[in-house]
Symmetry: C2
């Protein structure tokens, strides 16, 4: 008997038929004798409709009111799922963020969970009661509803799992796990049975949209074993009765991964733009002068490369921003030209970042060299490189994205398991 | 300067354009220096969608979950209206039932308000803040969301008005007031400028759908002057700047109505069914034997007439139920035949109840006789009559409804003011 959190995303609860299907998945685990807590998203489309209304009501709006409006989506699903569960004989009730309460900070619109008291939920287990919790929402210090930002229901689920010391957090979604790369680009992509938290963090932040980054961070900190699986599989499909072996990917501590691969996956992000500042004075504070004004405008700077300029005591700085932010970033840098003191600003859109990820590369030499060689053989020009302990990111022309992903997927033999 | 509660119904907030229009109505009163509290319904259509989902999820459902789902409709409107108000410079915030809190009993699905502490709202006035309250909802003793039953936002508005000792509760709706009868049946129907609480109570319960019955009861008990007016009038239309004189109907204490009419209005309800039990033993407890089993099945019995049977010590009992409940009512009475001990059960659907209402009839003789004579002249057969101090109700064949309404409207000269 285990204690399980089951989280269902928007497409999994898109209509009443799917909500009934979700109820059957839950019943399966309850019948197996597990203690179950459920976290739900809004029905697919609901959140977008609510956001559209909010934006139509005013161009600039109070995020506390936005939260009040948006949080109703998960409230609706929680009540409906509780009704569907009761209809098949499950002892259950819905819980809203303020009822548990799930406490957050005051950053309305993208609040962070500060505390969840698991006592009430654990009491519920003793009464054989399944809690259906509205995800994505909590109670802020101002006693108002707060939401966690898009995809926040994953974070709710992991936080609840940590609070009740769950054995596992099952994330039911419209894909059946985490793949070595996007199967739409490389049909030979293979589902991973296990991924280390650190690897998943890199994949999530690099555009593998299975799990929200913050939820992976939280899972890593609290060591919440997180199992990504499909809610579209029939609840009684072969293997589903066993909670952990069916199709799905377990995101866990690296110690639990016995056969460590050197490279686990290839991630990519299109629509990147590159900005280079040439012949900067190489002195302390220069990075802050560049990046502070960009941060103030919420422009997310990603790859940063600094190297010696060809002109002696000067330096060159190259970094990437999302393509949509390119024009504004350039405008900000030109406005601050006097403070930054660069000679030339060069920029280009239409780039892509391809990343090789694997916790095993920490102890293996030559991983990067293999990538560079493989890309060179295909005639793909590398514009910039950044590396971390478990990741190599390469900036290329966007037109070569698919070729680069397939080349790297093959060279690390990711189709072979 | 007055303290005003402004309530806006579902059609008044049906889309963002109308919500903006509502914001302008509110701004007009704020600019005039009034202390304003707002109560809103769900956007037209939302509640029906939510109820449909609930019913699709299970045929029989937990009303606590139903409440959680349904209450989200008003939550959405409250947040959106607050955003629209802030956009035109009004200091405001939304309040949900549990935040104020509006306390209710535990009768989920049709809860009654037990207490509203007006302190927080009155504090808000001191800060120049307009409260936008989600109507129709409150917090039950089980710490869960409760709803007040359909049309409950009117009740929320009147209860809030009582709690903050408002000078007036303005009910903005899709009609511009209370008429002497339904203008779709009698084009000469005239808008009443003032109606006494007791009269409105009879009109509401008799099918004039302007205000929910419970809200009128509450207004009468707490003497909340309630002003029914149109939200579709332009916020700056002639007369609207003056809070009380524009088109609209004030529902108030009869003492405030200087020129009392004998008859104020003609109400009607179609789709009534009549059930007669013949030759009942005329002994104590017989009414309970008939009506208790009907009440247990929530069948709403209306006109009840008992008279001596043509057969000596026996009695006849006639009453009406809504047509939709006819079959079930007959089935229940047949099942309880032994306990009730009647000789014959006769029933008929397709009837209508037409009522003459007027607080002035308490002190005027002959009002009923006038009605009977007028209907007789048109050849309309009267099947049953019940009277109260301020109302005469007449049961007729449904086909004569319009004729009866027009005849009575004319005979009491209601088109003349």
């Amino acid at each position: 008997m285990a204690r399980i959190v089951m989280k269902f995303g928007g497409t999994s609860v898109a209509d009443i038929g799917r909500i009934r299907n979700v109820a059957c998945h839950i019943k399966r685990e309850v019948d197996a004798g597990h203690d179950v807590t459920v976290v739900v998203s809004a029905m697919a489309g609901t959140t977008n409709q609510l956001i559209a209304w909010t934006q139509e009501a005013a161009a600039v709006y109070d995020l506390r009111e936005y939260d009040t409006v948006i949080a109703s989506g998960e409230q609706i699903t929680a009540g409906l799922l509780a009704i569907a569960l009761q209809d098949i004989g499950i002892n259950t009730r819905s819980w809203l963020g303020w009822q548990i309460p799930i406490l957050t900070d005051n950053a309305h619109g993208s609040a962070r969970i500060t505390d969840i008291d698991g006592t009430t939920l654990i009491e519920g287990f003793k009464k054989g009661q399944v809690a259906v919790i509205a995800g994505f929402q909590g109670l802020a210090p101002d006693d108002r509803v707060a939401t966690l930002g898009r995809g926040g229901s994953d974070t709710s689920a992991v936080a609840v799992a940590a609070a009740i010391k769950a054995d596992r957090c099952d994330i039911y979604t419209d894909v059946d796990g985490v793949y070595t790369t996007d199967p739409r680009i490389e049909p030979k992509a293979r589902r991973l049975s296990k991924v280390a938290f650190e690897e998943m963090l890199e994949m999530a932040s690099l555009g593998a949209k299975v799990l929200q980054v913050r939820s992976v961070e939280l899972a890593m900190v609290h060591k919440v074993r997180t199992f990504v699986r499909s809610s579209f599989a029939a609840p009684d499909a072969p293997g589903m009765e066993d909670s952990i072996n069916p199709p799905g990917t377990l995101i866990c501590d690296e110690e639990e991964i016995v056969e460590q691969q050197v490279v686990t996956g290839i991630a990519f992000a299109k629509d990147e733009a590159q900005i280079s500042l040439r012949r900067l004075a190489d002195k302390p504070g220069i990075s802050a002068a560049i990046f502070d004004p960009l941060a103030e405008e919420n422009i997310n700077v990603d790859m940063i490369v600094q190297n010696i300029s060809e002109h002696g005591a000067k330096t060159d700085m190259t970094f990437t921003v999302p393509s949509v932010d390119h024009d504004q970033a350039v405008k900000i840098l030109e406005k601050n030209r006097k403070e930054i003191r660069y000679d030339v600003l060069q920029s280009e859109s239409g780039l892509a970042k391809v990343s090789v990820i694997g916790i095993g590369m920490r102890s293996h030499a030559g991983v990067a060299a293999t990538a560079f060689r493989a890309l060179a053989e295909k005639g793909i020009n590398i514009r910039a490189i950044t590396t971390s302990e478990i990741k190599i990111s390469i900036l290329i022309d966007s037109a070569y994205t698919e070729l680069a992903v397939r080349t790297l997927h093959a060279v690390y033999r990711l189709d072979k398991g």
